[in-house]
């Protein structure tokens, strides 16, 4: 199948939507499909060969902050030419309600269109003024995908209609191999945590209490914490005698995040709730880290009911200490869990996600011609 993907944000600026499109494009190409992506970009020389530049995105006030978007006759002209010359069976636009390239693509194109909604947009008041403008372009979309329940709810509430839920994929091959951070995991064993340090729902306090117990019996055990938040405030919450055995990395780059997963013997996800999928869990599993997680529904599903990782009673530091202790003291058990996790995480790997997306494509394409331009 020949598919044109439309990215609304600058390709060379890091962001979830861009990453999603890159991973999807590469997974679809691996499955033997022809893919072309059009995207705004600051530097055309650094683009992969499947990306067609649509010019620079312009900083403009939008949604209460300054966003970098592609709009105006020049961008519209480039999208139009790309569609006309592309000979696509289908267009797949991302975040089509944002005033950028995807909306322009819906406007100029005539033919099968699939759209993926990424964000949760809280601005219902403002949408009222924009709805009539959006509607005529968005009406052309044949099928809609939401990456999360939040994105789906936003869509239903603001634009109407429903969407198929296909969660973000985890690019497993990006996580599989990495060097541990220097000096990790060390002789005495290491626990890991990733997430906002100051957000109670991520459950760091539960882990710190469990670490007090675990650390008493295991003098060499260390705890590696990565994620945004106030470093000093977080350090103050660590009990005195253990303070020099807790290492706070703060916000880390993508590359260091993967290395952090490879730096620990046991990865802990002590979340108290509010997780719809558990991306962090899937990433740790893809990195081969044995996982201990609270028994939230979402985590239980990802961990195959406990076969691909240990589950403990949510919020119970004692139970977390016991579960983590079992893994820390038994290398063989760690290897078994890690292998089971690597197998289980395949379900969230991009090739699997791309196949789900392809099914949507096939439903929409059957019987219609190529994508053309209007007028």
């Amino acid at each position: 199948m020949r598919v044109g993907l439309v990215c609304p944000y600058s390709w060379d600026v890091p962001g979830g939507v861009q990453e999603h499109i890159r991973d999807l494009a590469e997974a679809l190409m691996d499955l033997g499909h022809e893919i072309s992506v059009i995207s705004p970009a600051d530097n055309d020389d650094l683009l992969p060969d499947y990306v067609v530049p649509a010019g620079r995105a312009v900083p403009v006030p939008y949604n209460g902050s300054v966003a970098r978007l592609a709009f105006g006759p020049l961008s519209a002209g480039r999208v139009r030419r790309w569609v006309r010359e592309g000979g696509f069976d289908l267009l797949h636009v991302h975040e089509p309600a944002a005033p950028s390239l995807s909306l322009l693509a819906c406007w100029v194109a005539d033919g099968p269109i699939v759209a993926t909604m990424h964000g949760a947009n809280p601005r219902s008041r403002m949408l009222h003024a924009m709805l009539p403008i959006l509607q005529s372009a968005l009406e052309k979309i044949n099928a809609r995908i939401a990456v999360s329940e939040a994105a789906r709810t936003t869509l239903v509430e603001h634009l109407g209609g429903d969407a198929v839920l296909i969660p973000n994929g985890v690019a497993v091959r990006r996580y599989e191999k990495a060097d541990p951070l220097p000096g990790w995991p060390g002789e005495g064993g290491a626990l890991g945590f990733l997430g906002r340090m100051d957000e109670p729902r991520k459950g760091l306090p539960v882990l710190l209490r469990a670490f007090e117990t675990l650390g008493r019996d295991r003098p060499g055990l260390r705890l590696l914490i990565a994620g945004p938040g106030d470093l000093e405030e977080a350090a103050a919450r660590v009990p005195g005698p253990l303070r020099d055995r807790v290492v706070l990395l703060g916000q880390v780059s993508d590359e260091d995040k993967i290395r952090a997963y490879h730096s620990v013997d046991v990865f802990c996800a002590p979340n108290l709730g509010g997780e719809s999928f558990g991306m962090v869990l899937a990433e740790a599993m893809a990195s081969g880290a044995p996982v201990v997680a609270s028994d939230l529904d979402a985590f239980r599903t990802v961990l195959r009911g406990g076969r691909a990782g240990e589950l403990f009673v949510t919020g119970d530091a004692g139970d977390l200490a016991r579960a983590a202790g079992r893994l820390l003291d038994d290398p063989e058990r760690r290897a078994t869990v890690s292998a089971a996790a690597s197998a289980a995480v395949r379900a969230y790997d991009w090739p699997t996600v791309a196949r789900d997306v392809l099914q949507v494509y096939e439903t929409v394409v059957s019987g219609t011609g190529l994508v053309g331009v209007e007028r």
Binding site: G72, M126, I133
Partner: protein
């Protein structure tokens, strides 16, 4: 006898002077009120024309959504209007400085009229804000004099405040910013 007469005369003169000063402050406040109403009308007019442009179908939908969003935000702000109004200026600037924007409007029905209306409305904001801030400066100066402060000549009237927004429609560094007749960036 002459002494008392002189004292009374001085007191009367002082009274007349003070009441003249109080009247002046009063007139300045009235001038601020009038300028404020004119500024408000100019801002409302600008956001309506921007909204009209956004829903005219003359622009592409991405541009229209941006413009509609900025105009709507400017319109619905009750207090703290300065930021959303500045954002509207910046959105207008970004939209009309897009390469090919003007060319794409050539020959479209109603486009030139709407463009002229928008330029006029934007220019009126610039003028109205200048007049308003001029009135505020004069009033503040009059209120700050020691006699006015001592005798509370302004009474209970609230201290008027400047209205500071970005209302230049030429991009930074362009000459039009210097001129008193700003136009939508070309």
């Amino acid at each position: 006898m002459t002494g008392i007469f002189l004292a009374i005369a001085a007191a009367v003169l002082l009274g007349v002077y003070i009441s003249w000063r109080a009247g002046r402050i009063d007139r300045l406040h009235a001038r601020v009120d009038a300028a404020s109403a004119a500024l408000d009308a100019a801002l409302v007019r600008r956001s309506s024309v921007a909204l009209e442009f956004a829903s005219s179908g003359l622009l592409d939908p991405a541009t229209s959504v941006l413009l509609a969003g900025a105009a709507h935000d400017a319109r619905s702000a009750d207090t703290a209007r300065e930021l959303p109004e500045s954002d509207l200026t910046r959105a207008l600037r970004a939209v009309f400085s897009q390469p090919g924007c003007r060319a794409s409007l050539e020959g479209r029905e109603g486009a030139q009229e709407l463009l002229a209306e928008l330029e006029g409305a934007a220019h009126k904001v610039f003028l109205a804000r200048q007049f308003y801030n001029g009135a505020v400066a004069a009033t503040q100066a009059a209120r700050h004099r020691w006699l006015a402060r001592m005798l509370r000549l302004a009474g209970g009237a609230p201290q008027p405040e400047f209205f500071e927004i970005d209302d230049s429609l030429a991009g930074p560094g362009e000459d039009a910013q210097r001129s008193d007749m700003p136009h939508l960036a070309r």
